[in-house]
């Protein structure tokens, strides 16, 4: 079977359970996949619960407010209350929309956010599937979100939805280019597409992380990846597809209740995923910064680095205003892409000599 030479933690765990010995290996594999999907669904859901609270608190304190304070200690239960409200809300499907595509679109968008979690190396022995095309798999899966968004925009039968979907698709397709080139930088430095190998090649202290070891090219690549990934997941300052002052809520305008919360979960799942990818590629993944601190296990480091990047996302969101469309495209094609080429060239020279 395909997983034969790939490390898969869930398959390992299930192999060790004697109760399940009667199952053929393929069914064990399928069971492991289902468990992995459920685990990551809950990871995304819990992360979203926490991140939305953190985002509100950070937003509040940046603006000298307090943020949610009423529900629970300092409002920690606020998101839970909102989630319950969303779940029991009426599921409105307006007349004149394309029902099949309308129902399918949030599923596709959320599926892409969920599927990338398969290849994240959380710890030394903690990865669901160490594909040898790991990072390429992530790029491939994250392109699937574009048809999903266009599906949502088209099926809503609403001009704001369609505008938002077109903007979003144009933005994501454009920013695929600098994202891909920045990823190529890390892949060149590591000499492998596998996520686990990329992390292992950054072992031995923070000066071996690609952000520092190939200075300044690694830093440029990290910077480009960070900015372009912000644009790719439609976060502020690149949230033109959801610009509420111009096009209501973009492709999500007609959605409500459960289906809207799937889009929302996908957005926060993407935030986590982008932070995890940047951590893996440039910040050494689960590696400890200095060997003195190696008693702290890898998953803690991985989570800490990812959460730091997520915090920077939130921080940026409440600092910068929204860009204009032409500024967005200027930034993509005239700034990020040339610098990505420069840094590829630089890392190529570095690896040669």
């Amino acid at each position: 079977m395909i997983q034969a030479e790939y490390y898969n933690i869930f398959v390992k765990i299930i192999d060790q359970l004697a109760v399940l010995d009667f199952l053929p290996p393929v069914w064990k594999f399928i069971l492991a996949s289902v468990i992995a999907a459920l685990v990551f669904f809950h990871v995304i859901a819990i992360f979203a619960l926490v991140a939305i609270w953190v985002e509100r608190k950070v937003a509040g304190h940046i603006q000298d407010r307090l943020g949610p304070m009423e529900t629970g200690w300092h409002g920690v239960l606020q998101t839970l209350a909102d989630a319950i409200k969303l779940l029991i809300k009426e599921d409105i499907i307006a007349g004149g929309i394309d029902r099949r595509l309308f129902v399918l679109a949030p599923v596709i968008v959320f599926m892409t956010a969920l599927a990338v979690f398969v290849v994240f190396p959380v710890g030394e022995n903690f990865i669901v599937s160490d594909l040898n095309i790991g990072i390429l798999y992530i790029v491939a899966i994250s392109t699937l979100v574009v048809p999903g968004i266009i599906m949502a925009g088209w099926s809503s039968n609403n001009k704001w939805s369609l505008f938002g979907a077109m903007r979003s698709a144009a933005q994501i397709v454009s920013y695929e280019v600098p994202v891909g080139l920045a990823i190529v930088c890390a892949v060149m430095a590591a000499g492998s597409l596998s996520m686990q190998t990329i992390v292992e090649s950054q072992a031995g202290g923070f000066w071996n992380w690609f952000i520092f070891s190939k200075f300044p090219f690694g830093f440029i690549a990290f910077f480009i990846y960070f900015v372009a990934s912000l644009a790719e997941i439609n976060r502020t300052p690149f949230d033109l597809p959801e610009a509420e002052s111009e096009i209501v809520a973009g492709y999500m305008t007609e959605y409500s209740g459960m289906r809207w919360s799937f889009f929302f979960l996908a957005e926060y799942g993407n935030m986590l995923a982008v932070g995890a990818i940047a951590t893996t590629l440039f910040l050494g993944g689960w590696q400890t910064p200095i060997s003195l601190l190696s008693f702290i296990p890898g998953p803690v480091w991985f989570t800490a680095k990812t959460m730091f990047l997520v915090f920077v996302h939130i921080w940026l969101r409440w600092t910068l205003p929204r860009l204009r469309v032409d500024q967005l495209m200027y930034m993509c094609w005239k700034v990020l892409t040339p610098f990505a080429f420069v840094s590829i060239f630089g890392i190529g020279l570095w690896m040669t000599f």
Partner: protein, 194 residues
Amino acid sequence: MQSVNQYFLNIYIAIKSVLIGMSITFRHLFTKSVTVQYPRERLPIPGTSRNLLLNKIEDCIGCDQCVRVCPVNCITMDTIKVFPEDDLGLASDGSKKRLWLPRFDIDMAKCCYCGLCTYPCPTECLIMTDEYEYATYERNDLVFKFTDLDPIQIAELKEKDHIRSMEKEKKKLETAKQAAAKPGKNGGKSGEGT
């Protein structure tokens, strides 16, 4: 060459301004927030503020000035003249109360908070308090009733007043008849108007 320099200058300025902005927001992350947790802590209200109207009904002499001055007609007042056997006592400023007040309603849904009604009040019984939380579930609950008479009393008073006016009417009619018996002015008009 000029435009190339401009290009790099733009990038430099962009990164610099983003960093400055981020440092500002980071500093504000730790400054004390200015939020007032409203239902639990409240800011003091200035003494001249105009909010809910209150009528101290025991001081009200029913002079009707507030009703007449109100630009939106939100005050409704009924008065009944005292009967000779009653004594309503004095208002706090010493003026004698000559009227029963079976009804003194203020519709706060109509009130425009101009405060004009409080100035002419001779006994200063109609004032604006600093109470501003009087949201209700029913619009009718916004009509504040200030009378201190209970409905039975009001009914009795109205009955008495009615009898008195009837007697007056009779008297008037009699005097009119007497006047009609004598040659003189026409008294028919006074018979109609009561």
